[in-house]
Symmetry: D2
Subunit: 238 residues, 4 copies
C-alpha cells in the first residue's frame, strides 16, 4: 500500500558543488541521490527540494504532505528566505519531523527550532568513530556499539545546543576531538534530530550504517498526530 | 558601588493602553513603572525600552550593557522588527538573561529562543493561585508554598513549550484551569524565564510577592560569563 | 495471536482494605479487578501480584515475563522486602516498563528508580480535573483536553520528583491545589510512568478515561528492546 | 571567618590499596590526601570517612554538618550497609551535595540517587583528553576548552545514566573511546555530580585542573537551602 509509505522531503544545495571535484567524486549523481538512496521505494516516498527551486519546492502544500524533512545546507544558509524558514518551523510545531544533517547546524530552520546558535569548532578532515550512547533509542536500533568513517569533516565541542532530550551518538575523531553527533528534541508536536556526519567531499551518505540511521530517524520523527494550526483559543468560563 | 548593580532593561508597549481605562486604573503611571518598581535603585540599574522607540532603545550597544531583559509585549508582537528580535536572541546566546512576561508567550524573542509556538487557551478573568513547584530553585527563594492573585487573565494548558529545565510555578484558576506559570531554559550562555502573571488590567506587578519573583529572576538570569561573539573557529589538527 | 499480547503484572495490597467499607464499596471485587478491567484479554495478558504473596508473585522469572508492572501500594511500602524492590529496579533497567499508581509515590521501587523522596501534601477528598499538558505524548492519545473525577484524594505540590522527561497531565483540585499528575522517565532501557489518581475509596479505576490512560501507559512502556543483564565488560584495546 | 567555609566530607576506600604498588606510587600518603589537597583550608573544612570506619564517619550527625560529600569507592561497593546508603540519599534529598568520583558509578549512593545501573565498558589504561562541553556551567569555570591526562583508566560508552541535566565534560581516549565524563542531576533539594577521572593507579587527583573541577563542584553542589525532613503533611481544606 503506497498510502502508508513515509513521505520524506530532502532539501539539498546541489548547486553549491558544481565546481568541486571532491564533491563530484563522492556524489557523482548528486548529494540528493546519496541521501535518497537510504530510503527504499516500498517504504518511503522521497521528493527533492533544492536551494535553486526553494520557492517552488518548500511551500505550505509540500510541507503539509511531508512526514519528515531532511535538511542539508551550507553555502546558502543566509539566502534561505526568512518566510520559508518560518513555514518549516511552524510545520514542525504542527507535527512534521525535521532532521538536520551536518552543516545544517547553522541553518535557519534548525537554529530557529532549537533557539541556540549552533556554533562549534571544525577542521578538515580525519577518521571518525561514532559511538551509540543511547542504545535504547529508536534511532539507534540495529546500529552497532560503534562504527567508523574513514574520512569526515571534524566537528568539535563545545557545540552550542540546548540540553538534548537524548544524546544518541557521540563522535570520536582521530585528532583528539569529541562531538555530540546525534541529538534529539521535541518542538510542539514535532520531533527534531540533528546528525553530524555528511560532508559533501566524502561518500558518507552511501555508508549502510549511516543509511540505517537515516531510516531510523525518519521512522522515529514521522508524526503520529498533527495539529491543523497553531491557535490560542478564547475559551469560555467553565 | 554602582558598578555591581544589575542592569535591567524593561521593554513594554505602553502605547498600547492609552485608550484603556482598566489599564490606566491598574497602572496610573505606566506598565513600565509597575515592573520597574520591583527593582530598588541600590541593587538594580533600570532602563526603559518601548515599542515606540524600539530602534533607539534596543540596539547592540544597549543590549551589551544589559544583564537581564524583561519583555512585556502584546498588541505589537508582529510589528517588532525581525532584525531586533534576532539581536536579542543572539545576545541571550552570548549570555544576557531574558524574562518573558505574560503575553510575551507569543513574542518573537521568546518563541525564537524556545522554538515552540507558545500557544495556549485564555479567557478574562479569574482568581489565580500560584504554587511553588520547585522550592529548591533560586527564583522561588522567599516565595511561599502558594499565593493568590484576586484577578488575573486566565491562561490554560495545553501550553506549547519545550520541556522546561525547571517548572518553578504552576497556576491554579478558580474556573478550573491549570497553567505552567513559571518555566526556565538555557540557550547558549543565557538563561531564560517565562512568567505568566501580568495582564495590563490588573495591578499584578505591584504585588510584593510578584516583585520578589521578578527580583529573583533578575538575580538568577544575570550572566556570570559572557561570550564576545558566536563563532565557528577553523581549528588546527592537534 | 496470543503471543503478541502485552504482559501486564498488577501488584496491589488488597489485604489492606478488608476492614474498610469505602474501599469495598468502590471495589466490590478487588482493587486488582478495577485496574485489570482496563485491559481487554485479546490485547493484554494480565496477572496479579499481591503483598500477601509477594515472594511468589514477584520473582526473577515472573518479572522476565512481564512487559509492564503496575504498582499500587500504600500501607505496606516499608514491608516490601528490599531484595524484591531491587529485583524490580534491575528489571526496569533491563527494559521492563513500570507504572506507579497513586500512593506508589512513596513506594520502594518508584523512589528507588527516581532517586527522589516522592513527598507531597495531601488531604481527603475533592473534585479533581485532570488536564492534558502533553497532547503530543503517546500516553495522552484519545484523552480529552481535560476530564473530571468527582472524588479523588487531594495530592498537592510541591511534589518531590526529578525533572520529568514529560509532564503528561496536571491535576486541578476544587479546593485550590495543583499536582503534576502524570510524569514520565527513562531508567536504563526501561520506561517509567507515575500517575496520581486511584485512591481506594473511589471507583477511579473503573472510569473509562482513566482506563484508556492505563492502556496507553502499558502500550508506551512495554519494551521494544531488553538487555540480558547489567554488565561492565572489560574490553580490549582497539 | 571559619563559619563560611564549605564543609566537605570525603569518603575513600584506602584500605583497598595497601597491597598495590601502583596505588602507593600515585598516592604515597593516601587517596584521601589526593582528593583533599584540592581544598585549601581557608575556604573548605575537609573531613575524612573511610570504609573501615564507615559506621562512625557516616552518621546522621556527620551528614547534617556536611555541605558536599565526595564518594570514592570500588572494591567495597557491596559492603556499604544499605542503611548508610539510605542515610546519604535522604540527606541529598534534603539538600546535601553529592559528588561521585570514578568507580563510584556503581556505588550504592550514586545508583540509588540516579536510579540507573551505572554500567559501562572499561579497560586499563590510555591517554584521556577531557573536553568542556558546557562552558557556561559553574563546574567548568576556569577550565580550558580541553585538557589531557597522560594515563587514566578507560571508561567507555554506553554509560547507563538518566539523561543528564547538563553534560559538562566528555572524555576522549587514545584507543578510540568516548565517555560522558562529567554529568549533573538534581534530586530533591540536593545537587549531584558524577566525574569519571580518578583511578587509584594514577595521580589524577593531584592534577591542578582536576583540582579546580573538584573545587567548582563543591562550590556548585553546596546547599543554599536545606529541608529539615522529608514529610507528606496532611493539609487542611482551603
Amino acid at each position: 500500500m503506497t498510502n502508508i509509505r513515509t513521505n520524506v522531503l530532502i532539501y539539498t544545495e546541489d548547486i553549491h558543488a558544481h565546481g568541486d571535484p571532491s564533491h563530484r567524486a563522492a556524489y557523482p549523481i548528486s548529494l540528493h541521490d546519496g541521501i535518497a538512496s537510504a530510503f527504499p521505494e516500498d517504504r518511503y516516498n522521497v521528493r527533492a527540494a533544492e536551494f535553486g527551486n526553494i520557492r517552488e519546492s518548500i511551500t505550505p502544500d509540500t510541507l503539509a504532505e511531508t512526514d519528515v524533512l531532511f535538511w542539508w545546507g551550507h553555502d546558502h544558509h543566509a539566502d534561505v528566505p526568512d518566510d520559508i524558514s518560518k513555514l518549516i518551523i511552524t510545520e514542525v510545531q504542527k507535527g512534521m519531523g525535521f532532521v538536520g544533517l551536518h552543516s545544517a547546524h547553522l541553518s535557519k530552520p534548525l537554529t530557529g527550532l532549537l533557539g541556540s546558535s549552533g556554533t562549534l569548532s571544525w577542521r578538515m578532515s580525519d577518521k571518525e568513530r561514532i559511538w551509540t550512547t543511547a542504545p535504547f533509542h529508536p534511532i539507534s536500533q540495529g546500529i552497532p556499539e560503534y562504527f567508523d568513517l574513514n574520512d569526515e569533516e571534524v566537528y568539535a565541542e563545545p557545540f552550542d545546543i540546548p540540553t538534548p532530550e537524548d544524546t544518541v551518538f557521540i563522535g570520536w575523531f582521530g585528532g583528539g576531538e569529541v562531538f555530540r553527533a546525534g541529538v534529539t528534541y521535541r518542538r510542539g508536536y514535532g520531533k527534531v534530530f540533528y546528525f553530524q556526519p555528511g560532508h559533501e567531499s566524502f561518500p558518507t551518505f552511501y555508508n549502510p550504517t549511516i543509511q540505517q540511521i537515516l531510516r531510523n530517524a525518519a521512522d522515529w520523527a514521522k508524526p503520529t498526530l498533527r495539529r491543523n494550526g497553531l491557535h490560542c483559543p478564547n475559551v469560555k468560563p467553565m
